[in-house]
């Protein structure tokens, strides 16, 4: 297998940008080239695109099909500019600066061309801006405004040509609004390797379709919503369940609780005009209460619980494999908290389902506890509880509807709301989140740890698990091994990360797992091999390596997240997304972790209390198995999926 960090470029070369331009002069690589943009002279690195050069020079060139996360397509022709000496206009997004050139970004010809492109797109763009989910956040709408579109010389459709596809639990499609920029295609093939969407037909009959145009609900789709995050218009959007949640809130007989995942807090501010990376955790708690939620819980609580359950499961697997020499034990163990990743595994590598941790995701653990433990504790009728989850994720909507997620006797989580949906509810209620007073989460799950928070970033689950497992095994404080307890090797945005962690010494077996392993001697001096992958194209690289018996097959534990950057880049997060925006959100998450007094899951007092009061036979015990663990379905790739 190839180097796992090499990007997979499966999209055709017609839609790829090959940055390295061969040149007869090797000195030119890394050299500076003079370019004059709209009369302003600038020096830019050899080989950058005109678009990048213009951005450096502070000149804005409009784009539609271009996206910072994706290969260049050069199809919308919105970014065309005049390059001196070229007969035709050139797309700024693809044209490389390799020698001194003069560029005019707004000549008459250029302005005409852009207006024509917009008028043509509007000639088949069917829908009213007022009633569009992207009203106010639509790239086509903004450009139409910027270019002064006041009429439709080439027509404007009155009647929709296509039926909307609302068959999926997560992702909705409306071809009537599609502008054929093909960002969704590149996202789904290049970043996710799921390959749901492609261009079909040719000329003015080109549509973007699933395989045989089947409903998304029956195609092989992992619901990650990355296509939604990159759609410039309202052609792809996440299922909206705000009406149902409002209805529950408005019903006095319902006890409506909401759990909130860590990633939305780092991004919600963006919906209210704050810079990416401005956390609004505690302001949001207030907003939720004012919106009418009866209780506001922190999903970090079950993130910590997940670490205990999943960590224990890992220890058990390792013990069985290494001490009892049980060859049937599936290793490496895979994380299973990303529902997009879980579905990816079910479709593409069903033979590896035994490797997936049976621990439910934090959302679903919380769901199971709310309608059992919490209902008991407060004397509530679980049937009257409406359990809502605020998630950065569109796949969580599918996850909560899985038939196996009813272990409380009811649907454990009733609604999964995305960050965008909740933002919309806040706006509807006139709640300007950033200006609200701060308030804390509700008990009995109130306290959380830094480990729970970092679940929101790629590598976070791994770091949280390592903090706990290392402390449990060594009996030492993690801070004595890693500076400040930050396990840097598993952090960062590299597509696939690999780390080896040596167990320096072993200590006594802590009480919480004492019934499972007699001692740690078998781990003394052992090297724990771990890996972290985010974006399912990266997951594919790791899985193919495992299948081929490569280095990842020797890992003990691998964290997989379906979305680039982890949950903070989830398909339910504010639009737009880019590496910079995700990095800012990650920074917010890690700074929040640093600020926590308790940063390790196994020290979370609420978690310990839950084991003491409710899950009395301990992690991976009988009760936890019933409520907190699950099974997966080997779905395979054959379409249509039933």
């Amino acid at each position: 297998m190839s180097n796992p960090t090499t990007p997979i470029h499966r999209a055709p070369l017609s839609q790829q940008h090959r940055r390295v331009i061969t040149t007869t002069s090797p000195d030119a690589i890394g050299a500076q080239v003079s370019v004059t943009i709209d009369g302003v002279d600038a020096k830019v690195p050899f080989g950058v695109t005109i678009l990048e050069a213009a951005r450096n020079a502070g000149v804005k060139i409009p784009t539609l099909c271009d996206h910072p996360d994706l290969d260049v397509a050069g199809v919308c022709r919105m970014c065309v500019v005049e390059v001196e000496g070229q007969r035709t206009l050139q797309p700024a997004c693809t044209f490389p600066v390799v020698n001194a050139m003069k560029v005019n970004t707004h000549s008459r010809k250029v302005r005409m061309a852009r207006k024509h492109v917009l008028e043509l797109l509007l000639s088949e763009h069917c829908g009213e801006c007022y009633s569009c989910v992207r009203n106010g956040n639509c790239e086509l709408q903004s450009l139409a405004e910027e270019y002064g579109i006041t009429a439709f010389p080439f027509g404007h459709p009155e009647e929709p040509l296509f039926e909307q596809d609302t068959s999926s639990y997560s992702v909705m499609r409306d071809m009537n609004k599609c502008i054929r920029c093909r960002r969704c295609i590149r996202t789904c093939i290049d970043i996710q390797e799921v390959g749901v969407l492609e261009a079909v037909g040719r000329s003015n009959k080109v549509t973007i379709e699933t395989f045989e145009d089947m409903p998304l609900g029956t195609a092989v789709c992992i619901n990650c919503g990355q296509c939604v995050n990159r759609c410039p218009v309202g052609a792809l959007y996440a299922k909206d369940e705000t009406d149902a949640v409002w209805a529950a809130i408005d019903d006095p007989d319902r006890h409506v609780v909401i759990q909130t995942a860590p990633a939305p807090r780092s991004a919600m501010g963006e919906l209210f005009g704050l810079e990416p990376g401005t956390p609004v955790t505690f302001e949001m708690n207030t907003a939720l209460r004012r919106a009418g939620f009866d209780k506001v819980f922190d999903t970090n609580f079950t993130a910590d619980l997940t670490i205990i359950e999943e960590g224990t499961e890992l220890i058990l697997r390792l013990y069985k494999a290494l001490v009892e020499k049980d060859e049937s034990v599936a290793l490496p163990q895979f994380t299973s908290c990303s529902p997009g990743w879980v579905k990816y595994l079910e479709h593409f590598y069903p033979e590896y389902l035994p490797n997936a941790s049976s621990a439910k995701s934090p959302q679903q653990m919380f769901g199971a506890l709310i309608k059992t433990y919490y209902a008991d504790k407060l004397g509530l009728d679980p049937e009257k509880i409406v359990s809502v989850a605020l998630m950065p994720c569109s796949a969580k909507k599918f996850e909560c509807n899985r038939p196996e997620m009813r272990d409380s006797g009811f649907q454990d989580v009733d609604y999964g709301l995305t960050t965008r949906e909740l933002g919309k509810m806040f706006k509807e209620a006139g709640l300007h989140v950033p200006s609200l007073p701060k308030s804390d989460f509700d008990d009995p799950f109130g306290s959380a740890t830094g480990s729970g928070v970092i679940f929101g970033a790629t590598g976070g689950v791994m770091e949280a698990a390592l903090r706990t497992v290392i402390e449990m095994v060594t009996g030492e404080k993690i801070e004595s091994i890693y500076d400040h307890g930050d396990i840097i090797p598993v952090r960062g945005f590299e597509g696939v990360k690999y780390a080896e962690i040596t167990v320096p010494k072993v200590g006594p077996v802590p009480e919480i797992v004492a019934h499972l392993v007699p001692d740690w001697d078998w781990l003394d001096g052992a090297t724990l091999k771990v890996a972290v992958a985010h974006g399912t194209a990266n997951a594919k690289k790791v899985m193919d390596d495992i299948k081929a018996g490569g280095k990842f097959s020797e890992c003990h534990f691998i964290e997989f997240m379906a979305c680039p950057g982890g949950c903070l880049g989830g398909g339910g997060q504010p639009i737009p997304t880019s590496a910079d925006i995700r990095a800012a959100r990650a920074k917010a998450i890690y700074s929040e972790d640093s600020a926590y007094a308790v940063r390790k899951s196994h020290e979370n007092p609420a978690v310990l209390a839950t084991y003491g009061e409710f899950l009395t036979d301990g992690p991976c015990g009988h009760k936890s198995h019933k409520l907190l663990h699950t099974e997966y379905t080997a779905r395979g790739k054959h379409m249509p999926q039933s």
């Binding site: 017609s14 024509h116 043509l120 080439f154 040719r202």
Partner: protein, 398 residues
């Protein structure tokens, strides 16, 4: 294959070229000299775009790569063009000889003939010629006894897409993708098939290469004009007495050509196929040459009784069918052009819409991603210009 009548025309120079004379001459030269020789001949691409062949080879030869390719573009899809069919039927050896010389010049060991699906019936013939040449030591290892000169050819089939005549779309198709043109740069000579340096030449260009090596640059330059050296095959069809494939030196006027083929009295000729321009009778003094009316050789004669808007409609129907649908101007623009023609035909085209469409046509010519969209409005725009009186005063057909 059912009997079809042999394509008519005049005597072709290719009939006079001695087999393998070009290849022999080429193998007596150094590799660098091969490129210079083609450059000296001033040969320009015969597919329509007219890019200097020697320059194209030179770029590719300069690339350092383990693998390079030379592709023969036999995706002759331009409406009104059929000279490549005739060349492949009658002079396949010359084409392959040209490819072999090209392979030697640029350092390619594999040549690919990309044959359009509509010409599937030519495939067995081409494979026979290739097989025969392998047997003669003209393909394969150590060609003509030159140690280390290995070159072979395979035939790949198109599948019914006009746009695949565009070289980067052709390459996409060979790689198993939709035939959607790539962003350029990089050009195929730098990063072509499977990202390797690749030369794509038209069938006729390659046959010309063989002829030039057989007879010399000076001989070649005795034909044509200063800026358009050599002779050219023209595919003549439409309202004329003797349609067929004709060879003329570059620089022939439309009027003389029409005389040769029995097409005098025409009201217009469409030069260059659907992507070309429509020349009204008043401009028949214009010359077919790169410096005046450049063309891949398609000449469609339009008789005096034809409705000029039918011509525009036919071509726009074609482009609405054949646009790859990738870039906005071409994907949606052609349909607007077609709409305008239909409205003009029924006398219902509002002047402001016609003005918008004309401006849109100008945008398509400069903002489309590839040559298809850059040329598709040309016929219509030239008809609007050349026949404005006829269009303004026409009797409206119901």
């Amino acid at each position: 294959m059912p009997a079809t009548i042999e394509t008519q025309g005049n005597a072709l120079t290719y009939e006079t070229i001695e087999p393998e004379a070009g290849l022999k001459a080429a193998l007596a030269m150094s590799r660098a000299d091969l490129v210079d020789f083609v450059r000296d001949s001033d040969l320009k691409g015969r597919g329509g775009a007219g890019f200097p062949t020697g320059m194209k080879w030179g770029f590719c030869a300069a690339e350092k790569a383990d693998q390079k390719y030379i592709i023969c573009n036999a995706d002759e899809g331009e409406p009104g063009t059929f000279k490549d069919r005739v060349i492949l039927t009658r002079f396949a050896d010359l084409v392959i000889e040209g490819m072999t010389i090209g392979g030697r010049a640029i350092g390619a060991t594999l040549g690919i003939i990309y044959l359009r699906a509509e010409y599937t019936y030519l495939r067995p013939h081409l494979n026979e010629v290739i097989q025969k040449r392998r047997g003669q030591g003209l393909l394969g290892h150590d060609i003509m006894g030159v140690e280390g000169f290995d070159f072979d050819i395979l035939v790949a089939m198109g599948a019914g897409a006009y746009v695949c005549g565009e070289e980067t779309a052709l390459i996409e198709s060979l790689e198993g993708f939709r035939g959607e043109p790539r962003n350029r740069p990089p050009f195929p000579v730098v990063a072509g098939l499977l990202n390797n340096p690749t030369v794509v030449n038209n069938v006729e260009t390659l046959a010309s290469v063989a002829a030039i090596f057989a007879k010399g640059c000076d001989w070649f330059k005795t034909f044509g004009t200063d800026k358009s050296s050599g002779y050219k095959l023209f595919s003549i069809s439409g309202d004329c007495e003797k349609p067929g494939v004709y060879e003329f030196p570059w620089g022939i006027t439309v009027a003389s050509l029409l005389e040769e083929v029995g097409g005098t009295g025409a009201k217009a000729v469409q030069i260059g196929g659907a992507s070309g321009v429509c020349i009204p009778a008043k401009d028949f003094t214009r010359a077919l040459a790169f410096e005046d009316v450049p063309t891949g050789g398609s000449v469609m004669v339009i008789g005096p009784d034809r409705d000029i808007l039918d011509v525009a409609e036919n071509f726009l129907d074609f482009f609405v069918e054949e646009s790859c649908g990738q870039c906005t101007p071409c994907r949606l623009g052609n349909a607007q052009m077609l709409r305008a023609v239909k409205l003009l035909k029924t006398g219902e085209c509002p002047p402001e819409f016609l003005a918008s469409v004309k401006a849109l046509g100008a945008t398509m010519q400069v903002a489309s991603k590839c040559g298809l969209g850059q040329t598709s409005p040309s016929a219509f725009l030239s008809i609007l210009e050349g026949f404005d009186d006829e269009i303004a005063n026409r009797a409206v057909s119901a």
